[in-house]
Amino acid sequence: MEKTVKHREFGLPESPNYSITVDVPHESDPDDLWKDSRVYVNIGPTHPAMHGALRMCARLNGETIEKSYCEFGYTHRAKEKLGENRTYHNFIVYTDRLNYCSALINNVTYAMAIERLMGVEVPARAVWIRMICAEMARVIDHLICVGINAVDLGAFSFFLYGFHQREEAYTLIEKLCGARLTTSYTRIGGLMHDAPPGWEKEVKDWVVRTRKTVQEMDKLLTNNRIWSQRTQGVGVFTREQCMKYGFSGPNARGSGIDRDLRRDQPVMFYKNVEFDVPVGKNGDVFDRYLVRMAEIFQSLNIIAQCADRLQPGPIWSEDKRVRIPDKDVVFNTMEGMIHHFKFFMAGFDVPEGEAYTTFEAANGELGFYVVSKGGPRAHRMRIRGPSVYHYQALSEMCQGAKIADMVANLGSINIIAGELDR
């Protein structure tokens, strides 16, 4: 690839002219005062309304968007290519950079995908902790999505309330896995290490405080006249459109599609936990906001139930292929040290096969399609990010809407650049 740029070359290759003059059509006829010429505007990667690095180019007639197309790929980090070049154990680090607002859900889904390929059973305590982590990640993801949606439409204090609860959740997650955002907590066949003693007690206190705060947030915004006028009837997406575009998660439930993978396709212990699935009616920004707020309360109930059922027990599966030898065995015996070395350097072999494992992530159906040809590395690691299918519908959703409504639409479908560009 001779086009490869040397590593330390400073600055971009210079280009002769900076403003590329493309002839923009001026079809405004002089006699019609009311008809103006179309404005071609580029709401580019660095824009407060564009979460992460997204880009929308639109043709405007005054304030209304007549035609627009969206672009992404500005944070493409080649995770699928890395999936083919990293062992299954090393790839865990990349999974929590997918949807970085709820990193734990990606870890749990990836661990499940590989355990399913290997037929590995994880002990009950690890599954219960994984469920608590997944639901906690869902709560903080909804908090930031609804918060940012409110900030884009002007309600800043609503965001600060949500962010405070998020910080408390961060401290709990930091106690659990040492990192606030990029957790990398689950392992194939178990967890990194056990939850610190008394952790579930603190989780339950956090649940009580968060429930109170979210009720306050709900009072602050739901009956707020400005908020309902800015969001009701805006960005309406009907059931058929959602099915056509492959919507899933809160965006689909906001339009009345009653589907939740935790209930329809139960993994882990979601069968023995009661929760119901909030479904909206008319699929506008307000309904998606209400569905997310209701889901926060449901997830808090699930966390409380899981925290009650947590019993002490092993967190690692007994399967020899994935079980990392304990430290004293590694330091004192030759076999332990060799096993430890081989496990981390060469990686364990996953038997040949392919599986498409999906889980209800915070903003939709997150799927890992893993094809393994028997080696320590995947032959193909495909990550199905729900944001791709949601962002695809943005130009149809904003057809004929005002620019300000486009900002509300984008905030409501919760696009995360990490899992959009992979």
Binding site: Y18, V22, H26, S37, N42, G44, T64
Partner: protein
């Protein structure tokens, strides 16, 4: 007679405003280059020229705002002397009512003509 404080206020305002501009012009380093003079388009290179014809609606809304804003301006001197003259006779209220009534007529005319509807 007591216009000195007003002059002081205006002078102080000019001083702060002008001073800030002067200081930044003097102390501020200047290094223009082609990419810096390009208009900011969210990081992209701009396409076409910015001289586009805008619809008349924007101009209409601007003029209407100007009109009612200046109307609000006239309330200030009236409000200052309002308390003193009210004790003499209540005619001051009638004067302002007439002024507002005339502008309300204009407002309802604008509403009737539908100038405030956007599309």
């Amino acid at each position: 007679m007591e216009y000195i404080p007003v002059l002081i206020l205006m002078g102080f305002g000019a001083l702060v405003g002008g001073g800030a501009l002067l200081l930044s012009a003097l102390l501020g380093p200047k290094s223009p280059n082609a990419r810096k003079n390009m208009p900011f388009e969210c990081g992209m290179n701009p396409v076409g020229d910015a001289r586009q014809r805008f619809s008349v609606r924007f101009y209409l809304i601007a003029i209407l705002f100007l009109l009612f804003d200046v109307e609000a301006l006239f309330f200030y001197p009236w409000a200052v002397v309002y308390k003193k003259y009210l004790s003499i006779n209540a005619f001051i209220l009638l004067e302002m009512a007439v002024f507002v009534a005339i502008l309300l007529v204009g407002y309802f005319y604008v509403l009737g003509k539908g100038a405030l509807e956007w599309d």
